[in-house]
Symmetry: C2
Subunit: 274 residues, 2 copies
């Protein structure tokens, strides 16, 4: 059986460990802090603390983008090892991987799962259950490598797995993840927010759940996908301005048309995802 | 025991019926369609189809704002009946109620509960469980009437109950409910949305859950709270523009500061609500 290493024992890394261990794989963990390694051992997520990364057949790198780049560019991997990262931006990572000489096989991953909290205390072997997984590949990616990754992904419990280029990933994720975090982070800045205990329902909770992004993690993520995010942000600002203008002008017919337009789009999303 | 009527058998009206019936009250339902009355009878939400509104001690009006206004201004209620509406805007309703001669006692309600679907098929006797309820009152509102309403509210399962003026309600709800629906409705208008099956996680789902607002219900709601919503929308647009400008200018320090600001506010909300 192949031996697996997971580098980074946060919410994603810890969950990969737990999910693969539960599926019967042998998984060792590399954590920056001894506390997270202890946690992973006690929780039964890993077999042992990893010592030498170059001994593993499969390596999942589950650290922030800059640290991921450093691993992919400077770490010593076993010859022919399968190495996957889990970063939320992919073009920059791929560029770095493919522009260097390397002795490992690379496949990019982006698990569409998470919580509004972080750290291994938020990890769970079932975090990926039925979640979407995006696998990115370049012209040089080999089919058998993708298939091997899929085998681990299904073992982790992922539901739908989609494959695309890093560029397509970054374009779509700008909308489905990165813009959402900015909107949520901006939403709580209303002066009204401080007095609204008891005035909230599910809508407000949904809108603000992910507002508490860690700026140290997200700023470089945004910087790596700048153009796509600026385009999505500009589009949303234009769209919001249309509602504001209709309201200001007391043009209820226009307001109704704008709401209807959004409702009809929403209905097509619902139909597709059911 | 007082007999209770609920006018309007949609998701909210149906849930009021079911919750009060389960708590041991005698509740009759007035529905526009015989199908919704049949549904309420079969589900055990109501004792009977209501026939004459002027026979009831307590009346909950659970129809859209315009129809609510019509009831409050023209329906025949029993002398001294306690009449509550559940509209999402309150100033306009209160103004209409208090500017007329009337033989009933009025208390405004806004249950902060709902789903992204509507109709009695979405109703549930437990919809209000632990939800927030806002009770609005004017200088002329009597304490004993509010206390009577609270008794029904606790029976329905509400958690936190807050009381405020209609003006304060409308100001806060512009942020916590109405703005959220506009943002969600605008969010799905990105051209990227059509190809993002499999590229979504919880963030996108939360952001777009309530996008499918019924424009016929929401346009008049927005129109009744125009100034507050325009102010919230303008504030959000300004805040979003700050992130866009920082991204465009490659000012990562500013971007990080903006994200941090939102995170710190988010943490104060979390602390208060725990």
């Amino acid at each position: 059986m192949k031996n697996i290493a997971v580098v980074g024992l946060g919410i994603i890394g810890g969950s990969i460990c737990g999910a693969l261990t539960n599926a019967g794989y042998q998984v060792d963990g590399f954590g920056r802090s001894s506390a997270s390694v202890e946690y992973a051992l006690n929780a039964g997520y890993i077999r042992a603390k990893g010592e030498n990364l170059s001994l593993y057949d499969v390596v999942f790198i589950a650290v922030p983008p800059r640290a991921t780049l450093e691993y992919l560019q400077t770490a010593r991997f076993k010859d022919g090892a399968l190495v996957c990262d889990i970063c939320g931006v992919k073009s920059e990572i791929e560029k770095a991987v493919y522009s260097q000489k390397r002795n490992y096989r690379y496949v990019g991953l982006h698990p569409m799962a998470g919580k509004e909290t972080s750290g291994i205390g938020s990890a769970s072997p079932t975090l990926f259950k039925k979640a979407n997984l995006i696998i990115t590949h370049a012209p040089q990616t080999r089919r058998e490598d993708v298939n091997e990754v899929k085998q681990y992904a299904f073992a982790m419990g992922f539901g739908k797995i989609v494959e695309c280029s890093a560029e397509e990933h970054d374009k779509k994720i700008a909308l489905t993840s990165q813009l959402a975090h900015i909107v949520s982070n901006a939403y709580v800045k209303s002066p009204q927010v401080r007095g609204c205990d008891g005035f909230t329902g599910g809508s407000f909770q949904d809108m603000t759940r992910i507002a508490g992004v860690d700026e140290q993690v997200w700023t470089p993520l945004y910087a790596s996908n700048r153009e796509n995010i600026v385009r999505e942000l500009s589009g949303l600002i234009d769209n919001l301005s249309a509602y504001r203008d209709a309201l200001s002008a007391k043009d209820d017919e226009m307001l109704s048309a704008l709401l209807r337009e959004g409702r009809l789009i929403r209905e097509t999303i619902k139909r597709r995802n059911n």
